[in-house]
Amino acid sequence: MKVVGKPLERRDAWDKVTGRTRFLADIPLGEAWYGGVLRSQVARGNLAGIARDAGFDWSQVVVITAADLPGPNTVAMIREDLPLLADGEVSFVGQALALVAAPDRATLAAALAALRPDITPSPAVLSMEEALRGETVIWGEDNVIADYTIAPDDMAAFEAAMATADRIIEGTYRTGYQEHIYLEPQGVVADPRPDGGVEILGSLQCPYYVLNALARGLGLERDRLVVRQSPTGGAFGGKEDYPSVLAMQAAVLALKSGRQVAMLYERHEDIIASTKRHPSRTRHRTAIAEDGSLLAADIDVVLDAGAFTTLSPVVLSRAILHAAGSYNIPLVRIRGRAVATNTPPNGAFRGFGVPQSIFAAERHMDRIARELGVEPLALRRQLVLERGDVLPHGQVLGEGNAAGALVLERAVTLSGYEKRRGELAAANAAAAERGDPVRHGIGVSLVHHGAGFTGDGEDRIATVVRVRGEADGTVTVLCSSVEMGQGAETVLPAIAAEALDLPLEAVRYHQPDTAAVPDSGPTVASRTTMVVGKVLVQACDDLVRRARAHGADARAAWSAQAAAGEALVGEGRYEPDPDIRWDQEHHHGDAYPGYAWMATVVEAAVDTDTLEIHPERVTAVAEIGTAINPVLCVGQVEGGMVQSLAWGYLEEVKLDGGRYLNDRLATYIIPTCLDAPRFEVELAAEPSPRGAYGAKGLGELPMNGGAPALAAAIEHALGIAPDTIPMTPDRLLEQLQARAQEARP
């Protein structure tokens, strides 16, 4: 292959290093007005009205409340339960009550300050436990937004195993919030059109999601709506769902004021208003036979959805589909629930529920190993899923999808895990002897991640990609997959170049724009390279076929056609794979076309004086099918890994009465260069027959592996078992004190 697999320079890199890339806030606004949001300060209550200060001149601004909305007061996602503006009922701190547009920022701030919402607070549900108890019902009949079960085929055998096992090993694991902190805050600019429609330019992942939300919320035909993506300064899932909210806010203001309206959140508002990773609680009960083998597992996953549905059902679905981890357990039942609380809605975040459920699975493996008195590595070696094994949801792991043992062994070798485990234990003993406070530990995790949409999701999305032949012999890739740092703008053209046997420079990429590119689905779910890339290859083939009808030399033919004003466009459409079976109701069948695998070994230090953790060294081996661009792949692994580690020990959101306390960069702590570990990353390839040139999804995989490996390293260092993340110094101290208490006679 000429292009695929080469470490080619990113195409957007030079503009980025010279400061020429124009992110949304860099584009001059001219006459635009600024949009702002009046937000609730209470977690739950009844909004009687919003008074307007008589001293303020309201003629200079535009104000919109629920009563003034042109459409059905909803931001359409999976359900339509999220109102654009609170109407009567208020359900979380930060919920939008009214929108204001003003000619400048100062007037906007003054107007917002002159609005006085009259809210009578009522009892709020502020934790998953309260929501499950259901004494106060805030959503549906029982606060349960989604409730799914994956059941074993032989339920009787499962029940028998759970009832008669020699022993049951139980554990409960919790994970906390995570804020995306894409470095570029959220923003959109809305322009009213003369035909009554609206155009959106924004920092976003999913142009067509926004288009759908606008069509529904404004009650407008799609031909009067356009959504364009501006260069996006990081997203990580945070610009999957939330831009629909932002675009609706800006759009109604633009339509009412008749002006261009910019909604550019600054960091503080971004943190308060935008979605976060769902906190979770997962319980494992594992039935163990007398000989120590695992008979059955009963797993219960609960996600805190926040006040409205957003994407929670899909996040939950993915969470339970990975909840048994990367191991072969004969009989598994998994139940998952997403419950409503009076907190800001949670949403998509790299990994989409899997980091939560797989953290629990990995920690539970470590617990089983501890209770059985075997090495965590030995247990993993024994149980790792292999080709031909059947996952709890009934999918048989086929060709190119079972690299667990491969990555595990390679990571163990590369890191010297077994040797280091002994060395560090000895060094810790010596340090204790000397009175040196620092302890070291090493831990391993094994994770996988299904790429593409769950089940028949890709059938429903029905990706379309086009490739247009240009007069100068180049081609332009037309799809809605955005560049947000992950490298789509480089990788998709590379795939097209390979398919068309062109140099990379001869392939252009059209910035996603619903007026110009077809719907190739959202830029999520690690699907871009694997799924969209594969359809792109078809589009390229189609272009060549069409061109050949005009002449033997395809490139000459499409150039000539384009020069004559009859540009040829090749089209690829996702074709449902007849071999894929999926039963959505029972979560049974072929959940994902491809699984990527990763083993992670983390060495960490803990200062027992201050209980500060530092992950020092990470060895990661990722099997991702064909690496279309290895440099970009390594970057994805390292970046995702640091997010995963930090979620495990550093990043914390505390709430008080449903209000985030860590709502600025000074209090929401993400790693600096000094906090990040040194990396050794290796890529392995078991090419997938279902992805472009054998590629699989990679973007989310590293987010799964860091936190559990770090927790295992801390267990090794301190001899306590962290089951809740983040492992803050406060939590470690509590656990150490509890252990000291137990040790006392």
């Binding site: 320079e9 990113r10 957007d12 890199a13 030079w14 503009d15 980025k16 290093v17 010279t18 400061g19 806030a25 860099d26 001059p28 902190i181 894409y182 470095l183 570029e184 805050p185 996006t232 300064g233 990081g234 997203a235 600054e266 960091r267 009175g435 740092g485 992950q486 490298g487 027992t608 004086d609 201050t610 500060e612 530092h614 970009l632 390594v634 970057g635 390292e638 970046g639 640091v642 997010q643 550093l650 505390k654 306390l661 860590n662 600025r664 960069l665 000074a666 209090t667 702590i669 600096t672 260069c673 000094l674 906090d675 990040a676 040194r678 990396f679 990353v681 110094p729 406060d730 101290l733």
Partner: protein, 458 residues
């Protein structure tokens, strides 16, 4: 206000509101949008630029302060045709993903390599610690900087007629529509005269003030800039003491070989403040007067027997640092008084000093607990001159008086001394619970850190 400065080699005369952020001047007035805003409060480094060769966060620099200065932004660093070696290295090494952090990271990298041509990995990481990147995990970034080290920057042939400053242009000219009146006196006496009229807000490095303005604190009517007062920017050594001018920055402290040699705890605290840009901007006086309970210099200055020198037109007043705080964020300073300096006596021979900080992360971190210690062993092998001052555990710094009294005069090798000190230190403070840590954590860690200090002598 009319200011004159040099931006990317070009002389610019600008009409600005004095407190307008340099970031907005660059982006909105000059169209230099390569400099980004990621937080507006000094935390992320996306807005980092060079001012007179020093790395600073443009979101924390008021426009008036760049009058007469030389500014370099990413647009001036290099172009695709004639790049800085770092720009090329970032492209090749894969150090760029979304690119939003990239301009700031490049400016920090350039400042680092300008100061040290071949830094170690640890130095690279420390040099970039004020620049958050959410995409890369930093591995490729460190690699890029390493590979560009030792390569010549294209700017070396540039006009160096103002290596440490822009044009000599006198004072900026106020305008009728300035929302804020700025005083930029040349002498301490003039500054004190301004203070005498009351109500002027003193601005030194601006790192606390600009963050407060960003968070919504109303802008003042009058600002007194002390960042250029020669009388306040010096480190003066005498046989008995050092006098640190109030406008001395953390970087100035770290660059002083005398300070690092004789007041190592002070240097250690300065090293642990923020990250390079904050160290270049923030000052000793600002740290004292801002009076945050978590301030890092304050406990050290107290433990080293520092004395705050307050100046007003009525004369000077001296207050020991330990007595300087009357309560939470309430320094003993009259509105007409300027903190002019802090005096530290030279430590007696044999004094051991330490500064410990348990923070939220390894840089850009606010202390959960910090502790400054000093003591020495007398000729009989007994601990003496013991000073233990903790920060971030209560509304103000606290001297651990019971622990100090217990240690004073005891032999360092006395059995059980460390355990007794741990118990005493944990017990004697009324620690606070907040978003950063629990009271229990603070007590325990304080005990551990005191013990750590005691062990130095064993």
């Amino acid at each position: 206000m009319k200011i004159v400065c040099i931006v990317n080699g070009e002389r610019r005369e600008l009409e600005v509101q004095p407190l307008r952020r340099l970031l907005d001047v660059l982006r909105e007035d000059l169209g230099l949008t390569g400099t980004k805003e990621g937080c507006g409060e000094g935390e992320c480094g996306a807005c980092a630029v060079h001012i007179d060769g020093r790395l600073m966060n443009a979101c924390q620099v008021p426009a008036f302060q760049v009058h007469g200065r030389k500014i370099l932004t990413v647009e001036g660093l290099g172009t695709r045709e004639s790049p800085d070696p770092l720009q090329a290295a970032f492209v090749t090494a894969g150090a760029v993903q979304c690119g939003f952090c990239t301009p700031g990271l490049l400016m920090a990298s350039r400042a680092l390599l300008d100061a040290k041509a071949a830094p170690t990995e640890a130095e690279i990481r420390a040099g970039l610690a004020g620049n958050l990147c959410r995409c890369t995990g930093y591995g490729r970034v460190v690699e890029a900087v390493r590979s560009a080290a030792g390569m010549r920057s294209g700017r070396e042939g540039e006009d160096q007629s103002h290596p440490h400053g822009g044009p000599d242009v006198g004072s900026p000219v106020p305008s009728a529509d300035d929302a804020v009146q700025v005083f930029m006196p040349n002498t301490l006496a003039e500054a004190l005269a301004v203070m005498d009229h009351g109500e002027a807000v003193v601005m030194a490095g601006g790192t606390d003030l600009m963050a407060a303005f960003h968070a919504g604190r109303p802008l003042p009517d009058k600002v007194l800039d002390i960042s250029r007062l020669r009388e306040l920017t010096g480190i003066m050594l005498s046989p008995r003491r050092v006098t640190l001018g109030a406008a001395v920055s953390y970087t100035d402290l770290l660059n002083s070989t005398e300070v690092t040699a004789h007041w190592p705890a002070l240097a250690e605290a300065a090293r642990q403040v923020g990250a390079p840009a904050v160290q270049n901007m923030g000052t000793v006086g600002g740290n004292l007067v801002n009076a945050s309970p978590g301030a890092d210099l304050v406990p050290v200055l107290a433990a080293l027997d520092g004395v705050v020198v307050l100046a007003s037109t009525g004369g000077e007043r001296r207050v020991p640092v330990l007595d300087f705080y009357k309560g939470y964020r309430d320094p003993d300073r009259r509105p007409d008084e300027l903190v002019a300096a802090v005096e530290l006596p030279r430590p007696a021979a044999g004094v051991r000093q330490a500064f410990f900080k348990a923070g939220t992360r390894r840089a850009q971190s606010i202390a959960r607990v910090n502790l400054a210690c000093c003591a020495r062993i007398d000729t009989q092998g007994r601990l003496t001159d013991v000073k233990l001052v903790a920060g971030s555990v209560g509304p103000t710094i606290v001297a651990l008086r019971e622990t100090m009294a217990y240690m004073e005069g005891r032999r360092a090798d006395e059995g059980g001394l460390d355990a007794a000190c741990r118990r005493l230190a944990s017990g004697e403070v009324h620690a606070i619970d907040d978003v950063r840590a629990s009271a229990d954590y603070r007590r325990q860690v304080l005990g551990n850190l005191v013990t750590k200090f005691v062990k130095i002598f064993v």
